[in-house]
């Protein structure tokens, strides 16, 4: 496979500018003008609204198994969520998920 270096550099440059402008959008434009309460009420839910949708396909159809659901990965995801909600600790959640994943891959 041949890769066109010029295309790669065009992509890198466009993404560098584009991703920055997306991140800067509200921080740059709004400054310290107060946002209306209804908007703040919605913005509060951005992390819990975006991240589960981002993760769902990765958990159910992991690219590493060719998109086939995989029991070890499903159990690891479950363990992460259970440990995270029970302990409220990021570290405990990552540790639980990583342990179950490696145990599961070894046993299953």
């Amino acid at each position: 496979m041949t890769l066109d270096p010029a295309e790669v550099w065009i992509v890198i440059a466009a993404l560098a500018v584009g991703t920055f402008l997306i991140r800067f959008s509200f921080l740059g434009l709004i400054g310290d003008r107060p946002l209306p309460p209804w908007l703040l009420r919605h913005l509060r839910y951005t992390p819990v609204a975006v991240i589960p949708a981002l993760v769902t396909p990765l958990v159910l159809y992991p690219p590493a198994t060719g998109g086939e659901p995989d029991l070890a990965r499903l159990l690891a995801a479950l363990a992460t969520v259970v440990a995270g909600t029970a302990t409220r600790s990021l570290f405990a959640a990552i540790f639980a998920g990583g342990s179950v994943l490696n145990l599961g891959l070894w046993l299953l």
Partner: protein
């Protein structure tokens, strides 16, 4: 926020906040190292040279968008499709930018620009969680916490990409490094599910991702996120109205 002019309000000052942020984000190392390694390996396997792989991680710093771009370059997609898809994957950071604007808005433009560069899933999630726990934080403390939380994330992303690009091919596949990223994201979200409204948003987010997974160029992600935000805010509004 009640402030008495004679006393400094806030929580222990910016220096303490910076280190609290850095310490709080330390567990992310177990994620950023494999994530960056995988990207470095994938980039070299796709045919990017070391300079291109590193430029991407330093200038773009958006793991998911970088992977999407790489995959499409390998698939020989048209350049414009590569760019637009990767940007769409990263559109969620516009929501993060909006959510951080009320916290950082009073900072000078250059500081906001630098903060914008560091807005990634992990720094955003760690910081907003802290601001909800500690509403008395001052602007400088909030910024310091945010910059602190970037310390175990962003430089590590560069170095891990470098290590992956240089030595990458020797990592055995049985370590399942691919799954470090989903585990990190779930570990971030799970502790946030402390109210019915947050739970509703998360459930709608998952269902939305399943229902709209067919929408091309990760459009389904944005539809799901939008519906989930509405669900969370609506549950909050109703519960407040019921009180």
């Amino acid at each position: 926020m009640a402030t008495t002019p004679a006393h400094r309000s806030g929580v222990n000052g910016p220096r303490a906040a910076f280190w609290r942020g850095a310490r709080g984000a330390l567990p992310f190392l177990i994620v950023m190292v494999p994530f960056g390694l995988i990207f470095g390996v994938a980039a070299t396997e796709a045919g990017l040279d070391l300079l291109a792989a590193m430029s991407m991680s330093v200038l773009v710093i958006a793991g998911a968008a970088q992977f999407a771009a790489l995959q499409l370059i390998v698939d020989q997609a048209p350049t414009l499709v590569v760019i637009l898809t990767a940007l769409a994957v990263n559109l969620r950071t516009a929501l993060y930018s909006a959510a951080l604007a009320p916290h950082f808005g009073a900072a000078p433009l250059s500081v906001r620009a630098f903060a914008a560069y560091l807005v990634v899933d992990l720094t955003f999630a760690a910081s907003t969680a802290e601001y909800e726990r500690q509403p008395a934080m001052t602007l400088r403390e909030k910024l310091a916490f945010f910059f602190g939380s970037a310390l175990p994330v962003v430089p590590v992303w560069y170095l891990a990409t470098l290590a992956g690009a240089v030595f990458g091919r020797g990592i055995p596949p049985e370590y399942a490094l691919d799954f470090a990223v989903p585990i990190a994201f779930l570990a971030l979200v799970a502790p946030m599910l402390r109210t019915l409204a947050h739970l509703a948003a998360a459930v709608v987010s998952v269902l939305g991702a399943l229902a709209f997974g067919w929408v091309p160029y990760s459009g389904g992600l944005l539809v799901a996120a939008f519906l989930a935000i509405l669900a969370g805010a609506e549950v909050e509004r109703r519960r407040e109205a019921a009180l």
